[in-house]
Amino acid sequence: MSVQVLNPSGNGNPLTAKDYATDQDVRWCPGCGDYSILKQVQTVLPTLGIPKEKTVFVSGIGCAARYPYYMNTYGMHSIHGRATAVASGLKAARPDLDVWIITGDGDALSIGGNHFIHLLRRNFNVNVLLFNNEIYGLTKGQYSPTSPKGKVTKSMPYGSVDHPFNPIALALGAEGTFVARSMDRDPKHLRDMLLAAHQHKGSSFIDIYQNCNVFNDGAFGLFTDKDTKDDHTLFLEEDKPLVFGKETKGIKLDGFKPIVVSLEENAADECWIHDPKDKIKASILSSFFEYDMNQGALPRPFGIFYKNDRATYEDLLAEQIEEHKKKDNTDLDKLLSGENVWEVK
C-alpha cells in the first residue's frame, strides 16, 4: 500500500478518536450495534498513521450506510449496493487513499452481490466492513440474504423460503484474499480485526455480526449472551489451536470433519492449529455454519479465516501505465495527428 505515513495531525499532536467524529447527530436507534462499530473504527483509525484527509469512507444505502456522515474524513453515501463499485473506481484512480467500504447484509449481498464478488476477485486494496444484522433495518424489517430460512418478517410473514448465503463461504468462493468475522459486542476483537484488515494489502472483508435491536433483536444472542457465548464462539488465532468453552473444549479434524473434543481428555496442542493461509481449512471453518444444534453443534468461528497475498488491481494497472509511459508516445500532438497525415496547402 502506498499510503504516505505522515504525522497525521500535522502539528505534532497525535489524532484521537474525537477528531474522527463529525458534528452531525448520530441517528441510529438507541441501542443499535452500529454505535459500537463506529466507536471501534474511530478508536483504531488514529493509530494507523494515515492522515485523516487520506481516509475515505464509502457506503451504500441502509442503516449502516449512514456511517460516512459520522466520520470526519472524506466520505460518500452512495446508492444501494454500489459502494464497492464506487470504491473500485476511487481506488483505481487514487491508490494513495485509504479506502473503507461500509455496507449492510442487504447492501453488500443482496443488491450489491455482484460488485462485492468482483471487488474481491480484483483485490483492490480496500477494507469492507459488512454490518451483518441479518435483516433490512432501514426499510423496517424485511429478511435479507443472511436471514435464516424460516425467518418471519414483514415480507414473508409465514417464514422465508430462501436458503441464506454464508458470507464467509461466498467471499472465499469469490477469490477473497482476507476473510474474517467479528461482532459489535466484542470491541477488542473488532479492533484487532480492523487493524488486521487494514494491514492486509488487498481486499479485506470482515463479516461483522451486528445487533439490530429494533427489527432483529438477539439474532446473535448465542454468541453474545453471557450464558451461551463461551460454548458457541471460537476465536481463531494464527498458529494457535482451536479451543473454546473457556478452554474446556477444542476442535479436531476427523478426516475433513471437524469434531468437538473435550480438553480434559485431549491436549490443546493436538487440536487443529489455525493456519489462515490454508484455504481448504478456511472452507471447513466457514462450513461450521451448517452444523446446527441437532447435528452436534459447532461453535461459530470469529477471527481471520483466510488471508493470502495477491497483487492488487490498482498496482497492476499503475505498473502497466508506468511501463508504457516510459516506452510509448506521450506527446498529445503526436497522438492527435496519428500516423497518416496529409496536408492541404
Binding site: 460518500m76 470504491a87 473500485s88 476511487l90 484512480a93 460488485h115 492527435l336 497525415v341 496536408e343
Partner: protein, 623 residues
C-alpha cells in the same frame, strides 16, 4: 491499346466495396480512402458489418460492406446511392443492388457467382444475374478476379489460401486505375505492414499491380474517371472515425489540462471501440476499467471523479438504461462526469449493429426525480472530438454530469479531420475551493459561485474533509436535510445550474441559409451530413430553406427561440418518432413538424430533400 478517355466531370463518386466478411473488404475500403485523401479529395466513409460475428460464408447475412463517397467538393455523407458497386460474391450483389444508381457500374468477381454461391445467396433457381438480362440497366464488368489473381501469383510460393486472400488487392488496383489514382500509397503501406513477411508483401503488391494493369490493358473498359482534389481548408488532415475522435477528445481534455483520465465501461456495440481505443493510450496515463456491468462502470467513474479524475463512462442504450440510477446520484453529488451514449436501434436489444437517435428523451428524463443534466450531441465523426472536449470542459467547470450523444452511424463512419494541435485546445479550469467556501473555518462543499457551481474538493487535502451522498443536501453545508424549503430551493438551484451553462456556450449559428427563410430544417446529431447536403443543393436551386443543427440540446442555446421564430415553418428530421420535436414544441409552442425515419439506417439526402419540398410547398401555397 485501346484509347480510353478520362472523364473529369464527376464531382463526387460513391463506391461500395462488398463481399464476404472474410474478403478483406474493410481493409480495401480503408486503403482506397487513404489514397484519395492523400490525393486531396474530401471523403466520407461508412463500414457496414454483418450482425453476426461470422455468418456462414457466402450468405446474405455474411455480407460486409465499406461505403465511401469522395469528391472534389465538400462531402457530407457516404452517399445515398452508389455509382460503383464492387461485389466479391453473389450475396453481396443481392443485398446491395437496390442502392446502385441506374446506369451505375458493377464490378463483379465471377468466381463468386458459381452455383454454390448463387444457392447460398438464394438466387431463384440459382440463376446467375451476371449472365441473364437482369442487370442490363447497369454497366457490368464481370471479371474472374480469383482466377486472375491465382494466375498472377502462381509462382509466388504461397498456399492456395494465401493467394486467394490477395484478390482484394487485385480489386483495389483495378479501382485505382478506374479512378486514375496511383497505387503507390498502398504499395508503401503493404511493404511496411508485411515487413517481416516479404513473400506476402510481394504477392499483395503483385496482385495490386495486376489489377491496375488489367484496367489499362483489358479491352472491356470504356470509362475512366478522375475526381479532382477538393478545395479543402488549408492544413494538416487525418482520417478519423467517430469513436476514435471521441476517445481522442477525452485524452486531449485530460492530458492538455493535467487531469487523470478514467474511463470505466462495459463492452457494448457500438460503443466498445471507445474503450478499445483508450486502452491503448496507457502512456498518457489513461486508466480504463472494464467493469462487471454498466452500473459498476458508472459508479466507478463517480468514485474516480470524487478522487479528482476526469471520469467518463460510455455505453449504448440498454447499458445507459442501467446507469440511470447512478446518473441521478451524480446529479445530487454535483461531481464532474461525462456519460457517452453511442445510440443504436432500439427498443431493448433492438438492432445492435444499426443506428438510431431514439435515446434523446431517455437522456433528458430517464431518471427518478428532477435530475437535470446537460445533453450534447455530436454531428459527425470529427465533431465527436469537439463535442466530447466541450462536454469535459462543462462537466469540470460546472461540476455536473454531462451526456454526450453519438450513434452507430457516426461512431463507425469516418471522414478527414483537420486535427487541432494542443495549442488550439481550450483550457479547462476546475473550480477549486477558495477562502469564500468556508464558514467559521468549516469547509462548505455546497457553497456556490454565481452560476451555482460548487467547489471540487478532492480527498487528500487537509481541512476539506466532507461527505457527499444521495439524500437531499442542505444548502451550502451539504449535510443531509429533510427540510421542505431547502428541498425546493435545491431543486431550483440544480435546474438553474444546468440552465446557466447556456451562458458559457456559443450562440446557435445557422449552418446554411438565412434567418427568415420559408423553411427551417432543424437537426441534431448524425443527420447533419444529409441535411446539410440537401439544404445546400436546394438553396442552389432557389428554395428558401435553411439548416440549423443543434449540438446543445440541454440547455438550448440562448438565441434559439428568436432564431426559430424567424422561420415560417420548422421541420425536424430525426431517426426516431419525434423526440427533439417534442422538446421544441413544448418549449417554444412552435408547430414544428417531425420527419421520422426508424429503419436503423440514416436518412438519405434524397429523403431530406423530399421532406423539404413537401413542406416548403405547404408554406408557399398557404402564404
Amino acid at each position: 491499346m485501346k484509347e480510353i478517355n478520362i472523364n473529369r466531370s464527376k464531382k463526387e463518386v460513391v463506391i461500395l466495396f462488398a463481399g464476404d466478411s472474410g474478403d478483406g473488404i474493410q481493409f480495401t475500403g480503408g486503403q482506397f480512402t487513404e489514397t484519395v485523401e492523400l490525393f486531396g479529395n474530401d471523403i466520407s466513409t461508412f463500414p457496414n458489418f454483418p450482425a453476426e460475428i461470422r455468418a456462414p460464408i457466402g450468405t446474405e447475412a455474411g455480407v460486409s460492406g465499406f461505403q465511401l463517397k469522395f469528391g472534389s467538393v465538400e462531402v457530407f455523407t457516404p452517399g445515398d446511392q452508389y455509382d460503383v458497386l464492387v461485389v466479391m460474391n453473389a450475396a453481396a450483389l443481392k443485398v446491395n443492388l437496390h442502392n446502385l444508381r441506374p446506369g451505375g457500374v458493377i464490378v463483379a468477381n465471377t468466381s463468386g457467382f458459381d452455383s454454390k454461391n448463387l444457392k447460398l445467396a438464394k438466387y431463384i433457381d440459382d440463376e446467375n444475374p451476371l449472365t441473364n438480362d437482369s442487370l442490363e440497366n447497369y454497366e457490368v464488368h464481370a471479371i474472374d478476379i480469383s482466377k486472375l489473381t491465382k494466375e498472377a501469383l502462381k509462382d509466388s510460393g504461397l498456399s492456395v489460401k494465401e493467394i486467394d486472400r490477395c484478390k482484394n488487392m487485385f480489386v483495389l488496383g483495378f479501382i485505382y486505375w478506374m479512378f486514375s489514382q496511383s497505387p503507390d500509397n498502398t504499395i508503401k503501406f503493404i511493404q511496411h505492414k508485411f515487413k517481416s513477411k516479404p513473400e506476402i508483401a510481394d504477392a499483395n503488391i503483385k496482385a495490386l499491380k495486376t489489377g491496375y494493369h488489367y484496367g489499362e490493358t483489358s479491352e472491356t473498359f470504356t470509362s475512366r474517371y478522375e475526381v479532382k482534389p477538393a478545395p479543402l481548408q488549408k492544413g494538416k488532415y487525418r482520417n478519423i472515425s467517430g469513436n476514435q475522435a471521441t476517445a481522442l477528445g477525452m485524452v486531449a481534455a485530460a492530458s492538455h489540462n493535467n487531469f487523470e483520465l478514467m474511463y470505466a465501461s462495459y463492452p457494448i456495440t457500438p460503443a466498445s471501440d471507445i474503450l478499445h481505443e483508450l486502452s491503448k493510450h496507457k502512456s498518457f496515463g489513461v486508466k480504463t476499467f472494464q467493469a462487471e456491468d454498466e452500473i459498476a462502470a458508472v459508479c466507478a467513474a463517480i468514485g474516480a471523479s470524487f478522487g479528482g479524475s476526469l471520469a467518463i463512462t460510455g455505453s449504448s442504450g440498454p447499458g445507459i438504461a442501467l446507469k440511470a440510477e447512478a446518473m441521478g446520484l451524480a446529479v445530487m453529488l454535483e461531481l464532474p462526469l461525462v456519460v457517452v451514449n453511442v445510440q443504436r436501434g432500439g427498443p431493448s436489444t433492438g438492432l445492435p449493429t444499426k443506428t438510431e437517435q431514439a435515446d434523446l428523451l431517455q437522456m433528458l428524463y430517464g431518471r427518478n426525480g428532477e435530475a437535470p443534466m446537460p445533453v450534447f450531441a455530436a454531428a459527425s465523426p470529427k465533431d465527436c472530438f469537439d463535442t466530447i472536449y466541450e462536454a469535459c470542459r462543462i462537466a469540470i467547470e460546472h461540476m455536473t454530469p454531462v451526456v454526450v450523444l453519438s450513434d452507430g452511424y457516426i461512431a463507425n463512419g469516418a471522414e478527414p479531420w483537420r486535427f487541432p494541435t494542443s495549442k488550439d485546445l481550450k483550457t479547462i479550469t476546475a473550480r477549486r475551493p477558495d477562502e469564500n467556501d468556508f464558514l467559521n473555518d468549516k469547509f462548505l462543499p455546497y457553497e456556490r459561485d454565481e452560476h451555482e457551481v460548487r467547489p471540487w474538493a478532492v480527498p487528500g487535502i487537509k481541512g476539506l474533509e466532507h461527505r457527499l451522498g444521495g439524500l437531499e443536501k442542505e444548502l451550502r453545508t451539504g449535510n443531509v436535510s429533510y427540510n421542505p424549503e431547502n428541498h425546493q430551493e435545491m431543486i431550483r438551484i440544480r435546474e438553474k445550474k444546468v440552465n446557466d451553462i447556456a451562458l458559457d456556450l456559443p450562440d446557435q449559428i445557422i449552418h446554411r441559409g438565412n434567418e427568415g427563410a420559408d423553411l427551417l430544417v432543424l437537426g441534431w446529431g448524425s443527420t447533419f451530413g444529409s441535411i446539410e447536403r440537401a439544404v445546400k443543393d436546394l438553396i442552389e436551386e432557389g428554395v428558401s430553406v435553411a439548416h440549423i443543427h443543434l449540438r446543445h440540446i440541454n440547455p438550448f442555446p440562448k438565441n434559439l427561440e428568436s432564431l426559430l421564430k424567424s422561420f415560417k415553418r420548422v421541420i425536424i428530421p430525426e431517426m426516431n418518432r419525434g423526440q427533439l420535436s417534442k422538446l421544441i414544441r413544448e418549449r417554444f409552442l412552435i408547430d414544428a413538424i417531425s420527419v421520422n425515419k426508424t429503419k436503423g439506417i440514416p436518412f438519405s439526402v434524397e429523403e431530406i430533400k423530399q421532406a423539404i419540398l413537401k413542406y416548403q410547398d405547404h408554406v408557399s401555397t398557404s402564404a
